[in-house]
């Protein structure tokens, strides 16, 4: 379980995340939604110790992220931020194998290599394994990063906007894959998502943020109501139920 208590982030007088307390349950997919500037990405970065906290504590399975050694955390939790621009010319295989770094420290065992090959296969990247990252399209690169993070094989996997750069087909493919990771590999997946319909269709739990605070949290059923969306986004939407899933119609 990820336990967030009284976490705050401020830059001088600007408060980005204000005293958030939240528990993210083990197993399944938790999506964080909310308008631009709500503090979603900042919160995710603080959970994953990429950004220091201004106040409060975050613990992952009881390990405090600010005091636990980074290499210990790297075996529990992995994070992929959005807009990754890796300038290094690495092959997809190199990149994915680096996901084993927390365990191998650079000396790859046969088991590490097998794990990397599985992750590459999981993301359907076999044909591209020996290509350099800078020769791939944005969507292929995004899949390579996801493969690396999955190869890290941590209980908690955090993604900031994993659907960036992906077209319709690949976006759905990615969400299905994350669902599979949660169900078959029993991982805890935490996502920041822009598209509330994806959040609705694939998450077990939704956290809605606005102005640096958590305004609502609950099951997709509880969040996907006209009233809740109005509170989160200041927007009137119609919620329709199709095939047992709640979809918001917000295009017109």
């Amino acid at each position: 379980m990820i336990e967030i208590s009284n976490v705050r982030k401020n830059y001088g007088d600007t408060i980005v995340v204000r005293d958030v307390s939240l528990q993210i349950p083990r197993k399944g997919i938790t999506s964080i939604i909310g308008p631009n500037g709500a503090g979603k990405s900042t919160l995710l970065s603080m959970i994953s110790r990429l950004l220091p906290l201004s106040a409060g504590t975050v613990t992952v399975d009881g390990l405090d992220v600010t005091t636990t050694p980074s290499d210990v955390l790297a075996k529990r939790l992995s994070i992929l931020r959005q807009d990754n621009r890796v300038g290094s010319r690495l092959t997809v295989r190199d990149l994915v194998e680096f996901g084993r770094y927390p365990y191998s420290k650079g000396r790859l065992t046969a088991e590490d290599r097998a794990q990397a090959a599985r992750a590459i296969g999981f993301l359907g990247l076999e044909a591209l394994a020996d290509r350099f990252l800078d020769e791939l399209s944005g969507g292929q690169r995004q899949r390579a990063y996801v493969a690396m993070v999955l190869c890290q094989d941590t209980d908690y996997v955090l993604f900031d906007e994993p659907l960036n750069n992906l077209d319709m087909k690949h976006a759905v493919g990615m969400m299905k894959l994350l669902r599979e990771a949660a169900d078959a590999l029993s991982k805890t997946v935490v996502l920041v998502l822009h598209d509330i319909n994806f959040a609705s269709c694939y998450s077990d739990y939704i956290v809605a943020m606005r102005d640096g605070t958590v305004v609502r949290h609950g099951s997709p059923q509880e969040i996907m109501t006209s009233e809740a969306i109005r509170e989160i986004y200041d927007m009137e939407v119609e919620i329709q139920e199709t095939q047992g899933r709640r979809i918001s119609i917000y295009y017109t």
């Binding site: 990429l50 980074s70 290499d71 790297a74 992995s78 994070i79 010319r89 770094y101 650079g106």
Partner: protein, 319 residues
């Protein structure tokens, strides 16, 4: 598979380097020494040290350039485009002024300290620059180098040390003799250290977030990298003078060949760096025989021409 080929090429170049020069030295003279010839002495006192110095300096500088590029995540940075060289010269000038009789290792350490401070300042300034484009980074470095260089020149001029300053800033191996190059073995040790932490340096090259996610302490690897780069630069400035663009050309070429996974690429970078330096030095020795053109000048021509090629070739990608 091709690596042994590259190594043999360097060995051939090294043998040529042993035989080429102003003093008469041929295989026959070596094998059947005659009265009044000093072939063996030339070999032991001058040629072998010079050739070793070339190999050590070339390998260390090329690797230092690679490390700089990983730490700044920028292809166009190396010690001479980051203010490192100029800072090392300033340090060397300072120690020459205040403690002129200090042993060479002390001078080297002071120069390394200055180089470290200068490079850290460079990274600090980079954080201040808004909208960093790929090319602002070396631009900032070159300007910083210019400023530090102006300070150094000013004091060198005041205290009549311009000639020494010139020796530090233009590479020249013609003065390398037994007893005057051994510091470069430390450079080899640092190169090996870099190879030992190659995985961590590669990770650091992927950026702070990536490396933190994988449990790396980003700050400490950056510090280690900076220390290696500063020491190598200082050693080279103290012993043979600066080799411009070497740390830029070789890593870029190797990166195109085989990518940036340093576990694989560092041996290549070291070997090709040594090879390029050998070629340039041999050229400098034969192009206007029996006079020598310093390697700094030759590298300046070849290096800047290749750098221009790299810049203008990837134009669309950079713009």
């Amino acid at each position: 598979m091709k690596f042994p080929l590259a190594v043999s090429a360097v060995i051939i170049l090294a043998s040529i380097s042993l035989l080429v020069g102003a003093g008469d030295l041929s295989l026959t003279a070596l094998l059947w020494p005659q009265e009044g010839q000093h072939a063996t002495q030339i070999l032991l006192i001058s040629r072998i040290p010079r050739t070793l110095a070339l190999i050590l300096a070339g390998a260390a500088m090329a690797v230092a350039g690679t490390i700089m590029q990983a730490l700044t995540q920028n292809r166009f940075v190396e010690p001479s485009t980051a203010g490192t060289v100029e800072s090392a010269s300033l340090g060397l000038l300072t120690v020459t002024l205040f403690v002129p009789d200090s042993p060479v290792i002390v001078k080297m350490l002071v120069a390394a300290g200055f180089a470290l401070a200068g490079t850290a300042l460079f990274l600090r300034i980079l954080k201040l620059v808004p909208l960093r484009s790929v090319l602002t980074v070396p631009l900032v470095g070159i300007m910083l180098g210019g400023i530090v260089g102006a300070i150094t020149t000013f004091f060198a001029y005041r205290f009549d040390l311009l000639q020494s300053l010139n020796a530090w800033t233009t590479g020249d191996f013609s003065g390398v003799l037994r007893g005057r190059y051994e510091l470069l073995w430390i450079g080899l040790a640092l190169t090996l250290l870099a190879y030992f932490v190659a995985d961590r340096l590669t990770l650091a090259g992927m950026g702070r977030d990536f490396s933190t996610n994988l449990g790396l302490r980003y700050r400490s690897i950056v510090s280690l990298g900076l220390i290696i780069v500063s020491m190598v630069t200082a050693i080279i400035v103290v012993t043979v003078g600066m080799l411009p663009f070497l740390g830029l050309i070789v890593p870029n070429v190797v990166s195109l060949m085989m990518g940036d996974n340093m576990r694989r690429s560092l041996p290549w970078i070291a070997v090709l760096g040594a090879g390029l330096v050998l070629v340039c030095d041999i050229l400098g020795r034969v192009v206007y025989y029996p006079y020598e053109v310093p390697i700094g000048t030759i590298m300046g021509i070849i290096g800047s021409a290749l750098f221009l090629f790299l810049l203008l070739r990837g134009r669309q990608r950079l713009a």
